[in-house]
Amino acid sequence: MRKASSDTAHLYDGKTVRSSAPSRKKLAGQTGIGSEIPMDAIPELEMPSFIESLIGGPIVPKMKFLPPDKFVQNMQLGVYVILVGLALLTYIISPPEGTIWFMLLGSSDLALIFQIGIIAGATGLGFWGAYQRDARYMLGSYSLFILAIMRFASSKTSVNDLFGLADSPTLLASLVVIYSVLLIMYFELSNGVMRYSMLDTSIRTNEVYVMNPKKIVGKYHRSLIINPIIATVLASIVLSANTILPWFVGILSEDTATRLRESVELGSVYGVALGTLFVFIVVGALFALDLPTYIQKKRESSDE
C-alpha cells in the first residue's frame, strides 16, 4: 500500500529523496484547469497557404529573419534598381488613355494622376516590402504593377512619349519586351529576397546545412543574367513573327510575301498571336517528343 510519508531517509543513507516534485503538488492546488488539450501538447504543423507558396514565404512573416547577410543585401539593392527602371517603363508604356479609371473619370489629367499614383504606390510598396522583407507589401506591389498596365483601348503600343519614342515602332516593341522582362525579374528578385532570407536564417539556426554555398549562389547569379537575356532574345523573335513569316513565305512566292507584309492583320496584335502560335506549336511538339529528357540524358552521359 502506498505509504503516507514520503520520507525515504532510511533508503539513502540518511538523505531524504522526495518522491514527487514539490512544484507539481503546488500546481495541483493552484492552477485553474480545463479539460481541453494543452497547447504545448499539440505539435506545430506549418503548411504554407496557396498565396504563401506563390510568393515563396509566409504573407505574415512567422519566422523572424536574422539581419540580412551580404547576398540578401545585394539582392535587395537589385530589387531597388529594377523597381526604379520598372516604374519609369510602366509610366512610359502605359499612358492613362484606355485605363479603367480614364473610362470612369473621363478626364485625362485625373486619369494621369491616378495612374502615376498607382505606379508610385507599386514602387513604394515594392521598396518597403524588399527592405522589410515582408511579403504582404510585395504582393501589393505586384498587383498594382499589373493593374497599371491593364488597358482596354488600343491595338497598337501607345506611350507617354517622353523621349520622342512614338516614331519608332521597333523601339517601342523593344521597350515593351524590356518592360516585361524587368517585371518578371522584379517578381523573381523580390521572391529571391524572401527565399534566401529564409534559407539564410535556417542555415544560421542549424535547421538546414548548405554544402558549397558559393556554387549554389553562383548558379543563381548566372541565372539572373542569362535567363532574362534569353527571354528577351526569344521573345523578340516570337514578336517579330510578322517580319519573319513573310520572309519564309517569300522563298516560295514573292507576291504572297508582299501581300503578307502589307497585311493590316499581320501587323496587328493578331500577327503577334499568329507568330506566338507557330512558335509554341513547335515548343509543344518538342515537349511531346520528350526532348527535355533526351537533352538531359545526352548531357548526363556526356562524360561517360
Partner: protein, 437 residues
C-alpha cells in the same frame, strides 16, 4: 513538376494573352509572350527532369555497379541498430552523383518524428559535382522506446528560380530498435533494510544435484562412491548415500499491461512507458542474479517470453518491451487463466499496470494470491500523468484518485504488495514502497 509560382505566372500569362487578343492590346500580348518564353526556357533547360534515382542500403552496396541504377544514389549507415532510450544514434548518409553533370540537390533524410536532431542536420542543400559523392553525418537523440526506421531520403532538384522541380523519394530504409532505459536497482537493494526483494537462489524441495543435504537413502548400483555416508553405514550396516536438495533459481514473472488505456497521458510520460522501463530494469536485475525471468505483455493479444536465464534472455525481453504497443483491452483475468497452469507455484509475480478500466483486476490477483503466489503490483498512476499535463480538472482528479485509492486498498487487503507509483518517483523507491521497507 510545376510549382505554384510557375502555375501563377503561367495562368497570368494565359489571362493576359487572351485579354490582349480580346482587347486587341499588343502590350498585354507582349508581356504574356515574354512570360511564356521565360517559363519555357526554365522548363526546357532548368535541369529539373533528371532525378533518375534509386536507393539501396549501404551494406548492399558493392562498388560501381550502382551506376546502372540511376544518377543519384543514396546509402545510409547507422552507428548501431540497438540503443537505449535517450541514447544517440549517428546516421551517415552517402550521396553519390553518377552523372556527368553537377547537380544542386535538396536532400532531406526522414527521421521519426519523436527523434531530435542533436548534431548536424538531416536537411541539406548541396551542390554535388559530376561523379562525386559526399557524406552527410548527423546525430539523433532517441527519447522513446520502439521499433523505428530512418528513411526514405527525399531528393529534390529545382531550377534556380524555383519555377519547376522534380522530387523523388529514394527508398533507403534502416531499421533500429530503441530499448527502454533501465534503472540500476542493485544499489537500492544493498542499501535497503532487506537485502533482496526476493531470495535469489530458492531451493526447491526436491532431491537432485545441489549443495544442501536433503535425506538419506539406500545405495543403488550406479551411485557415486563419494555420496556414500560412511557414518550411516557404520550405524546401520547398510550402504547409505546422501541425497542433496536440487538448487534452483526462482522464476520471476513480470506481467505488463499494454492495453490502449495504458498510454493515457503524454507520449513520453504514461503508464506504458514507465511499465516497460520498470520491466527492463527488473529483468536486468533478476537475470543478473541468475534468476529465470519470464515476461507477459498483454493488450490486444497476450505475448509472452518464456522463462529463461542469461544475457540473451535480457535482449529477448528488451526487444519485446521495445515493441509493446498500447492496443486492445484484454482483461487481466484472461491473462491469469492462460498463464496460471504454466507458472511454478510460489513464483514471484510482478504486475505493472495503471489498474484502469479493468473490472477483473481484483479477482485475477485474488486467484494468484489464492495459489500462494508472491504478487507485487507497481502501478504508474495515469491520473498523475493526466493531471500534470493539465488534461484533468481538479475535481475529476480528486474523484478518480479516491476511486483509485479504494482499489489499491482492496488489493492490499488481498496480501498483494502494491505501490501507487507517482511520476517523479524512482523505480527503486516505488519498489521499496511496494515491498514495505
Amino acid at each position: 513538376m510545376w510549382s505554384r509560382k510557375s502555375a501563377l505566372l503561367g495562368s497570368m500569362a494565359v489571362a493576359m494573352y487572351l485579354l490582349g487578343l480580346t482587347l486587341r492590346n499588343s502590350q498585354l500580348v507582349t508581356i504574356a509572350v515574354v512570360i511564356f518564353v521565360f517559363l519555357t526556357w526554365a522548363a526546357l533547360f532548368g535541369g529539373h527532369a533528371d532525378v533518375a534515382s534509386s536507393g539501396r542500403r549501404a551494406d548492399e552496396w558493392t562498388g560501381e555497379e550502382g551506376v546502372a541504377l540511376g544518377s543519384v544514389l543514396a546509402m545510409r549507415k547507422l552507428s548501431g541498430s540497438r540503443i537505449f532510450e535517450d541514447g544517440e544514434l549517428t546516421v551517415t548518409l552517402r550521396m553519390q552523383n553518377n552523372s556527368g553533370l553537377a547537380k544542386i540537390l535538396e536532400v532531406r533524410d526522414r527521421v521519426p518524428e519523436v527523434m531530435r536532431i542533436k548534431q548536424g542536420s538531416n536537411y541539406i542543400l548541396m551542390e554535388l559535382g559530376p561523379r562525386r559523392e559526399t557524406y552527410i553525418e548527423y546525430t539523433v537523440e532517441c527519447p522513446l522506446r520502439g521499433f523505428y526506421s530512418v528513411g526514405p531520403v527525399a531528393v529534390r532538384m529545382q531550377d534556380p528560380f524555383g519555377l519547376f522541380h522534380k522530387e523523388k523519394e529514394l527508398h533507403v530504409y534502416n531499421d533500429f530498435l530503441v530499448f527502454p532505459k533501465m534503472e540500476d536497482l542493485k544499489d537500492t537493494f544493498v542499501k535497503s533494510r532487506v537485502p533482496k526483494i526476493f531470495t535469489g537462489a530458492v531451493n526447491i524441495r526436491q532431491p537432485g544435484p545441489g549443495s544442501e543435504f536433503y535425506s538419506l537413502r539406500e545405495y543403488f548400483e550406479g551411485d557415486s562412491f563419494r555420496a556414500i555416508n560412511w557414518s550411516a553405514y557404520a550405524r546401520s550396516g547398510k550402504l547409505m548415500v546422501n541425497e542433496r536438495e536440487r538448487d534452483a533459481v526462482s522464476d520471476i514473472i513480470i506481467i505488463i499491461d499494454s492495453r490502449a488505456v495504458s498510454e493515457t497521458g503524454p507520449v513520453s510520460r504514461n503508464a506504458l512507458v514507465y511499465s516497460t522501463r520498470a520491466a527492463a530494469s527488473l529483468a536486468k536485475y533478476f537475470l543478473g542474479r541468475r534468476d529465470s525471468v519470464g515476461v507477459v505483455v498483454y493488450g490486444d493479444e497476450v505475448v509472452s517470453v518464456d522463462r529463461d536465464t542469461g544475457k540473451k534472455q535480457l535482449y529477448v525481453i528488451l526487444t519485446k518491451l521495445a515493441g509493446a504497443v498500447a492496443r486492445g483491452n484484454i482483461p487481466l483475468q484472461v491473462v491469469v487463466n492462460r498463464i496460471l497452469p504454466h507458472i511454478n507455484k510460489g513464483s514471484p509475480i510482478i504486475f505493472l499496470s495503471n489498474l484502469e478500466d479493468d473490472p477483473t483486476i481484483v479477482s485475477a490477483l485474488r486467484d494468484f494470491r489464492a495459489r500462494d503466489f508472491d504478487v507485487t503490483v507497481l502501478s504508474p498512476s495515469s491520473l498523475e500523468f493526466e493531471f500534470d499535463a493539465r488534461r484533468l480538472d481538479r475535481t475529476g482528479y480528486e474523484v478518480m484518485k479516491t476511486e483509485r485509492d479504494v482499489l489499491l486498498g482492496e488489493l492490499s487487503s488481498l496480501g498483494v504488495n502494491i505501490m501507487d507509483w507517482e511520476p517523479d518517483m524512482l523505480l527503486s523507491t516505488a519498489l521499496a514502497g511496494a515491498r514495505g521497507f
